[in-house]
Amino acid sequence: MKARIKFEKGGVLRYVGHLDMMRYFQKAIRRSGIPISYSQGFHPHQHMSFAMPLGVGVSSEGEYMDIDLEEEINPNKAVDDLNSHMADGVRVISFRYLTEEDGNAMSSVGAASYFLYLKGGEGLDGDLLMSYKNERFDGKDKMLITKKTKKSEREIDLKPFVYDFRLFELDEDYSKKMQSLIPDYETNDFRLNTGDMGIYLLLSAGSEENIRPDLFMKYLTGRKEDWEYLPFGIHRIDLLKKDKDGGFVSL
């Protein structure tokens, strides 16, 4: 029996990296008594897989992991049990059983949506972003950039993989939500107040072509820095898969 857990990650926990986060959840599941199934052998490990890693410093309201269960449990109770064993900053949003049609989380990811906010004091503002958009995105046929991975370095065209890109002003609700997810926003001069300029991105993700938001922003701004030096923060909104009609739906 397979179940998919959706959770959000913010607060100080956004500095916990992916591998540490996996170990965190392995322990949280033990603490909460969820009857997860284990592999055989002397060092049994939990049947658990994450849809996609989340970078250090990135917050998210749409993270997913699949687990195999030994026995059926009540989904609402599972959410409560898990949440009573979470650290501040991580919250389980939902728990649902997977059906035949659901693939596993990792292989079904096709896109990821992001909200990017400005980090203050770095000379990047809404007007400048708007001009970059006009110049380098709107009406462009090709968006070429060098993509570096640990193994290779190749030039790719981002155009077919950027499904959506919009600039918008934060409304009060979204501003409040982000502020609660990143409570230290003010001391860090993160622009998360109502009316601040935000960026919405829908990018190809997963095994086919994984485009990180910072790669797109490097293209857009022409900056060369590693992403931890770039003047905007990243928040993942959701992970999505292709539906039958070619659109995207939440995992």
Partner: protein, 637 residues
């Protein structure tokens, strides 16, 4: 508006001492965010006493230490105190904190250390001494206790290195010598009452606290030296200050605090598991081993209490591994019962059991067969000395036949990997003791080929030899022993290596040894006096810290520091010290008598072994504590 904010703990509001900009640019930023499962949350405004507990090494090492977790639990049981944690910032963050003037902070509240009443530093190994200065530096606390003002935290130290605290005495307001469970409540009670009554001043408190058993306030003692450089006199400056500081021992372990809900770090700790301390002390009496002397008498925890701890720790943490901790687990009498329980419980929970320091015999092999994959795991022997003569010198009661018998059993059980630990540079070591090391490894390899028929072998047997260089420690029978020059250590390692290559089964044996430079510095710190403090300070100024990490150890900077301070390191390491020499640590009464240590030093030279505590009492003096192994039924005098 106070009402709303007062109740909220700062960590819940996401307060961090480091900005996003800094956290994004350092390695493993989760080292610095606190907020772990098991972290104790209090409002600092609600307490009278704030205590910052420091392990002066990187987070992953510090978080693996059981002692801090025990005291963290105990201290935080007090309503009037909030105990928080602090570790050494890694060099990448250190640089940023220095450049940007960021003060060192505690993980729980993220508040600067300078806001605290106490900074308690555990001293687990000598090579952390420069890290002590790093912590003081980043916390903006003057290095020298005598330079500190009323607003600076009281800096106190504990742990095994306090059995010769003299090289770092200048940097501490006081040391607590012994097991922290015993007296810290009295120390806090004193501090609290002086604060409340308005009688507190730094000097008045230090004077008062010196009356508490186990407390040593270095500034209240005067040291003088002979012309030859040895200590001539060590006396209290005032008549009410005790001339001898007596080590304090927790004799009721079953009713003392234990962290049943230990902290669960995000960053993978070196020991990423829950730890069950089954026993304190060791009955064996190996003459090189400081822990074996210092933590006497051997005290076993009650097996029922341990079962309860194991369950509550696993429940509270969700850890997938449990490790038994003691100096010699095989000497824990209820081990079979405990292991039966753990194997049963851990199999149900899919929890691994890790069993260090087990003597290899039929029983332990049977247990290991149940808890580990024989094909992947290895069996470990620590003969320490290669020859029987050397093992007699060091009183290591392990014979070649014990080892071969254990190995044979293990080979029959399917094991093919053997690890062997030895020390080089032990007192009176001869070339034949060195060559005996690979000879023993060869015998073990031979034993495999003799035991397991060719058609049943799973490839070649792998025997790994590791050697470290011996460092004489205070309060051991070898506290009088000389060390060797670095070149001599290297020569000895090469003798082992060359001999290994000529062994019949050389292809089955491998050899690793540690570099000797750090060893010699450790030797100076271990048996140094107050004059070493200047050298440590100089070396820190030159950029030395994280000396325990090979990549950060700069021998040249240390050499320069000794020279510039006019301190000859050889004085502390190269002499065989005369039996009557007054040592810098002689003011400490650690429980075992000088007469016993002298007797043991003499017996080692005569290559005579001394029976372990259960075979018979050797009169080390520890009976005065009134418990433990000294009073087990079979050991009545």
């Amino acid at each position: 508006m106070g009402g709303y904010y007062k109740g909220a703990c700062s960590t819940m509001t996401g307060k961090l001492a480091l900005s996003d900009k800094v956290l994004m640019r350092v390695e493993k930023s989760a080292r610095y965010i606190g907020n772990e499962i098991g972290m104790i949350k209090k409002d600092p405004d609600d307490v009278l006493i704030r205590f910052a507990f420091c392990f002066p090494d990187v987070y992953e090492i510090g978080m693996s230490h059981l002692g801090i977790q025990i005291l963290y639990e105990m201290f935080n049981r007090r309503d009037d105190l909030y105990c928080e944690r602090v570790y050494s910032p890694w060099p990448d963050l250190h640089r940023i904190m220095k450049d940007e003037g960021i003060p060192l902070f505690a993980l729980e509240s993220q508040d600067p250390i300078s806001d605290f009443d106490f900074l308690g530093i555990t001293l687990q190994y000598e090579m952390c001494y420069t890290n002590v200065l790093q912590v003081l530096d980043l916390a903006r606390i003057p290095f020298h206790a005598t330079d500190r003002g009323e607003d600076d935290p009281i800096v106190c130290g504990g742990g095994p290195c306090t059995y010769n605290p003299e090289p770092i005495a200048d940097f501490f307001d006081f040391f607590f010598i012994g097991e922290g469970e015993t007296e810290y409540d009295h120390i806090f009670d004193l501090y609290g009452s002086m604060k409340r009554s308005g009688t507190y001043s730094r000097s008045a408190f230090l004077r008062e606290v010196s009356h508490i058993p186990g407390v040593y306030v270095p500034s209240l003692y005067e040291v003088s030296y002979n012309e030859d450089g040895t200590v001539s006199d060590f006396v209290p400056k005032f008549s009410d200050v005790p001339a001898t500081v007596v080590r304090q021992v927790e004799m009721d372990l079953d009713n003392s605090p234990y962290p049943e809900k230990p902290l669960v770090p995000y960053v993978q700790a070196t020991q990423d598991r829950v730890v069950l301390e089954i026993m304190r002390g060791c009955i064996r009496g190996c003459r090189f081993c400081q822990a074996g002397m210092l933590y006497r008498p051997t005290r076993q925890r009650n097996v029922e209490v341990l079962k309860k701890y194991a369950i509550s720790m696993l429940d509270a943490t969700g850890q997938d591994e449990i490790s038994l901790s003691s100096l010699s687990s095989s000497d824990y009498e209820a081990l079979p019962e405990l292991l039966d329980f753990l194997i049963d419980e851990c199999t149900k929970r899919k929890v691994n059991i890790s069993l260090p320091s087990l003597r290899i015999d039929a029983f332990s092999l049977d247990v290991m067969d149940k808890v580990a994959d024989v094909k992947k795991s290895s069996i470990t022997f620590a003969p320490e000395g290669g020859s029987q003569r050397m093992r007699d010198v060091i009183n290591k009661g392990l014979t070649v036949s014990d080892i071969l018998q254990g190995a044979t059993e293990a080979f029959k059980g399917g094991w093919t990997k053997v690890k062997l630990y030895f020390m080089l540079g032990l007192p009176g070591e001869r070339e034949e003791d060195m060559t005996a090391i690979p000879d023993l490894a060869d015998e073990i390899a031979m034993c495999y080929y003799d035991t397991i028929p060719k058609d049943q072998r799973n490839g070649r047997v792998r025997v790994t030899i590791s050697t470290s260089f011996f460092v004489p420690k205070p309060f051991t029978p070898f506290q009088w022993a000389p060390m060797e020059e670095a070149t001599e250590y290297k020569r000895r390692a090469h003798i082992v290596k060359d001999r290994m290559h000529s062994e019949h089964n050389a292809k089955s044996i491998s050899y690793q040894y540690h570099e000797p430079d750090v060893t010699l510095l450790e030797g100076v710190f271990a048996r140094g006096d107050r004059r070493i403090a200047a050298v440590i300070e100089k070396a820190y100024e030159k950029g030395c810290f994280f000396d325990a990490w090979t990549e950060f150890f700069h021998k040249d900077l240390w050499d320069q520091s000794f020279e510039e301070c006019g301190v000859d390191p050889d004085f502390y390491t190269m002499r065989e010290r005369p039996i009557e020499e007054k040592f810098p640590w002689d003011f400490i009464d650690c429980g075992i008598t000088r007469a016993f240590l002298e007797r043991e030093w003499k017996r080692s030279k005569e290559e005579v072994v001394t029976p372990n505590c259960r075979m018979g009492c050797s009169g080390c003096g520890i009976r005065k504590y009134g418990g433990g192994v000294c009073f087990e039924g079979k050991n009545k005098v």
